[in-house]
Symmetry: C2
Subunit: 258 residues, 2 copies
Amino acid sequence: MTLTNTYPQDERSKAKRYAKRVTYDKDAVRDIVDAAPILHVSFNAPPIESTEPQFPTILPMLGAMCSGTFTDDEQVIYLHGSSAARLFRLGAGQQESGIPVCIAATLLDGYVLALTPFNHSCNYRSAVIFGYATKVTDTDEMMHAMELITNHLVTDRWTNSRTPPTKSELTATGILRVQIDTASVKIRNGGPHDDKKDLKDEATTSRVWTGVVPVHQVMGEPIASPDNMVSQVPASITTWIEDTNDMRKGHMMESMKE
Amino acid sequence: MTLTNTYPQDERSKAKRYAKRVTYDKDAVRDIVDAAPILHVSFNAPPIESTEPQFPTILPMLGAMCSGTFTDDEQVIYLHGSSAARLFRLGAGQQESGIPVCIAATLLDGYVLALTPFNHSCNYRSAVIFGYATKVTDTDEMMHAMELITNHLVTDRWTNSRTPPTKSELTATGILRVQIDTASVKIRNGGPHDDKKDLKDEATTSRVWTGVVPVHQVMGEPIASPDNMVSQVPASITTWIEDTNDMRKGHMMESMKE
């Protein structure tokens, strides 16, 4: 198989505006999915007579991106849910073709304050992915996907919790595999871009502060559950918290540069 | 007009699972939209022959929720974009019926670590809203929506920047108004819920730490743009940063309770 490093562009993913902020690079897509704790997944549920025309639905979900033996080294997204949930029942019912889905991974890096509201913006990293979702039925692949998704949420948590899952846990879990058709990444970095006319207007520039207010997610002190029997928070967790906080702060600082 | 405090449930919004975590309360929907800096908006672009069946698209967008004189006191969502963007051209082309959209506002409050991956979860606040988007054409309503959206991004920024917008800024801006059909809120709070069997298994409980790792967005030090002429960061900005950071931390702490 020939592997290319970019996704093919088509009408769904092609940048219509700010093309210089856009890339179709597979690694860039993966970086953003890897950094996003939550994915937004959109799909068209079967039409309901009372709500024609077709409404899409968005669900916030947990998932992970990977490529490996189960995917012919192609980059796919695994999504996690309940086997009883609508999207997973839909997936099971359309095993051949799959369900068309759109997945968004979005990270906010800063508020960009300009002289005029029109030039205000946000710094962000956004990946938008289009593909077909089918339900994973092979137990080995399911187990593999569950391990990836668990470790994407909390580094190394799979080995640091009670595994493997029981049969009933496996039955109750739904995993969708999304084969990616096309995907794109849009990134905005740096400070505001004001219009020359505003920059020359002293009444405005003397009054309106401009710049960036950076923002990032930060994890706080772990709070043990009443049932917890491990007296000290293990290094696997404190390391994960520190590394993730550092990484997020690093991305935020990086986003300040043009 | 009779105003009720809850959205009508239908097939799109009705909770299929974890019904006790779900509410249709209008104020609850608004609280989450108000707290979310970014909204995810999903819509069906006109079908493209090469990508049948219909793929929905997700876009991360800025917007604001409000009710007032322009909306007959009904709660609506205004979305901001470029008048040249696809969704806004679609909105302009379907002024009578509007475009069916689904909007998600999602806030992550914590990572919930249980004994087994199956019982891992996240604490979150999620609002999912279904409605019809039409393009705002009335200049007064546009101006009103732009003020709301600007102040939703940065408190009081409208009066603290160069306003009103120029004619060409107004022409280049697209505002969609989303009339809400139905909406729901799902909230998960508190610690992990482990199975009795796992809680009795000492080999597991002695090894696996359980609890919550809280997470929230935090804004850092403002960085002035090279063009900025205001020597000190104004109180309107420092107050906004402090208040928002406090509010986000407060939500995070609140989410630790069941």
